[in-house]
Amino acid sequence: MSEMHQESSGSGDSFDLSQFYQIFFEEAGENLDLMEQMLLNLNLEAADDEELNGIFRCAHSVKGGAATFGFADVAELTHQMESLLDRLRRHELQPNPQMVDVLLESADVSRGLLARHQAGGAGDPLPTADLVRRISLLASGGMLTPEPAPLVQSDSQSKVLGATQKLTNASAPSGVAPAERSLAISIGPMDKPEQADAILELFRDIAGLGKIVASTSDREDTRVFAVETTSSDEDLLDLFEFHISRELVKIQTVPETGAVTPGDGQELSESSAIHAGLTSYADDPPPGAPLAPLPGFGFFDGSPGAPAAGATVVQPAAEQKTAVANPAARAAAPAAQTEAATIRVAISKVDQLINLVGELVITQAMLAQNSRALDPAVYQQMLVGLADLDRNTRDLQESVMSIRMIPMSIVFSRFPRMLRDLAGKLGKKVDFITQGEATELDKGLVEKITDPLTHLVRNSCDHGIEMPADRLAAGKPETGTITLSAAHQGGSIVIEVRDDGRGMSREKILNKARERGLSVSDQMPDSEVWQLIFAPGFSTAEVVTDVSGRGVGMDVVKRNITALNGTVEIDSAEGFGMKVSVRLPLTLAIMDGMSVGIGNEVYLLPLSSVIESFQVDANAVNTVGQGAQLVKVREEYMPVIEMEKLFQVPRFSAEKCNSIMVVIEADGSRVALLVDELLGQQQVVVKNLESNYRKVPNVSGATILGDGKVALILDTAALVRRSRH
């Protein structure tokens, strides 16, 4: 993980995006699936606005991602789809079955293109020009002349099938049915000979390939099959390659005159020639025994004993087949590898896992406590076992927690490159600054916040930052600045996108809103005016570019964030810039906490807001007015909050007394908290109190300590605010 946390400030010239490809491919795949589903369910007579918007958003998301990662062909195709869908959702066009067909086809082609990119560009490029032409024709309101849609299959297995069919088709017109041959195929030696059984399925699945029967092998690591087929050795090897490495396959012809299908006279004689030429192989070592490499076996290169005459018929087909199937085979291998690298699991399953592990830790702690009284001499084995259990539970807990937690830098580091390209394309100069990239956030949140943030950053660059000349004219530095920051703030995480660009024009937004028939008035407060840009299809940009400007961004942003129980706030000053704050609840964010003891109770302070702590000197505390206390810290007077009083902590013994001050800072001001003792620092999972209870004053959440007890997390912002009044 650590090598992924790159320095994310600056423009990041040497930044490698490939680490995010996988995420993009997964997301794009999901979006295309979703789009297909919605297209199939679309009611053409009375298309639902929501559905059309949904389909449009899918295409838009794929396009955005593809453009970011530089997959120009995908971006181009999806851009066309988007244009068509945009006109549909604006009701400028009436959806018809042709459109659905073309869109579905485009989704298939996009999938194929993506699969090709995922495989590192291997395989034949898929032609998109015709498709693009047809979409734009439809988008301009035209109708298509009926023509058969080219069949596109992204699945490599079906490509092989197609190739096989082509093979038979190619062979047939030559007017000669290839002779059926009897072969003995031995596969091995291999560690898992059962893998070889997969070829049985090949013969079952591919019609016309022939018959296969597993025969007995005299070696455990080798499988032997008796095959009757009309395909050439080369074709068989190509097919087998999906399951078994080529070198392991040995094919031998079994001379069996009865198996020869009688063709015309010439054919028959040719077949006989094959067998005649190959009889010598019957004397070779039995199948399965380590074979000396058979020279040119299965290759039609005129080696001694090669079926020269018969091969002339099959050869062209075989070559064609190789040309088609091999790239597919190459493409399939890396794809399989990347698929195995990650799995997508329902978040609920991970949650359940986390809770169960929490329980396990508590049970383990209890066992450890109870076993302390045992005599090590008598119970040595059990104590060793418990020590192992202790270590394993700890490791397990750490691993499970790490499943969900990822630092914001994962999201942030997507942007420098994107902004650099974007700024280059737009001819703008932009500096990108990130803050708080170490803030850890739940993976579920990170995944869902990425798209909205991408939109916001793009918007800032596209609409916010002015052209260098305009900036200079406005008396600003030539280079604009976009700042992305993340911070935990009083029980929420706040992510801000700031730019020092032109800001938003109140007038423009109000005019646009009136144009779109929204009810607005000039007296609306600024905050309400800014919220208008979250309406679907609302954009004040004059030009629709492939960057942004269709107004799809903001409504997606709002929708995604509301779905996370978050809020979006906009602050803007025309001519000076704009700030979008996304506030998300800490449903399951990890926090570095400092635990403090007050009486017999334990409370947690977010470590990020703790400045310092010190032993109290009675002389340093002064009272002012109605008993408000101030403490002098290095020539500065700070308000003191007596935690014992504020939290009404019952006190049972007079021995312990308030003796430690912890200085915390929030919202730019500091207070000193009077506590009994500092207990230590630990990472805690922030739990929500409100889900089953209610908001508690001065508390931002709760967490579960190692002993299973609940400890409250103090809301530093509220404490600081409190001291001000």
């Binding site: 089953n692 209610r694 001065n698 007890k709 609940v710």
Partner: protein
């Protein structure tokens, strides 16, 4: 609301099962379907400035659950925490709440028509929250609508006071 009640009445089986428990000398019953589990009492984490009957919050397998001492809420004379003191964990719509009771007695099935309406009595329980009285031989069983009781305004269990608990 009227519609909902009708539907509920129609779909209510004639015999319902109740979990019965003791608070002081009184015996209460609540709908067994609202009960998630029963646990021994462990001191929860105290919440400052909460009403006395809210004992605090506890960890229920990773979930933070508030604990209400029903004896304090209903004004029992004694609220001692002994080995037999139990917490009944309730699942009320989307919320999980634990209630402290003196002891859990039984699960019993009562035919709906055997319930007697509760007379107007001055007491700590909102009349709306009492479904009726059931006779158990010589003993009397007070059947509570625990959902109503717990979502009452004075329970301070939810921030959205006055709104129906979501």
């Amino acid at each position: 609301m009227g519609m909902m009640e009708q539907i509920e009445q129609l779909s209510t089986p004639a015999v319902r099962e109740y979990l019965t428990f003791r608070l002081g000398d009184e015996e209460y019953g609540i709908d067994i379907l609202k009960v998630q589990e029963i646990r021994g009492y462990e001191a929860p984490t105290r919440i400052a400035q909460a009403p006395a009957f809210i004992k605090g919050v506890t960890n229920l397998r990773g979930t933070i659950v508030p604990i209400v001492d029903l004896r304090l809420k209903l004004g029992c004379e004694l609220a001692q925490y002994t080995a037999s003191t139990v917490v009944v964990v309730l699942n009320l719509r989307s919320r999980i709440v634990g209630i402290v009771v003196d002891s859990v007695s039984d699960v019993m099935a009562l035919p709906q028509d055997s319930l007697r309406p509760a007379p107007e009595v001055e007491g700590a329980i909102d009349r709306d929250a009492v479904l009726g009285l059931g006779a158990l031989g010589e003993r009397m069983l007070i059947l509570l609508d625990i959902e109503k009781l717990m979502s009452g305004m004075d329970m301070a269990l939810s921030s959205e006071i006055g709104l129906p608990a979501a």
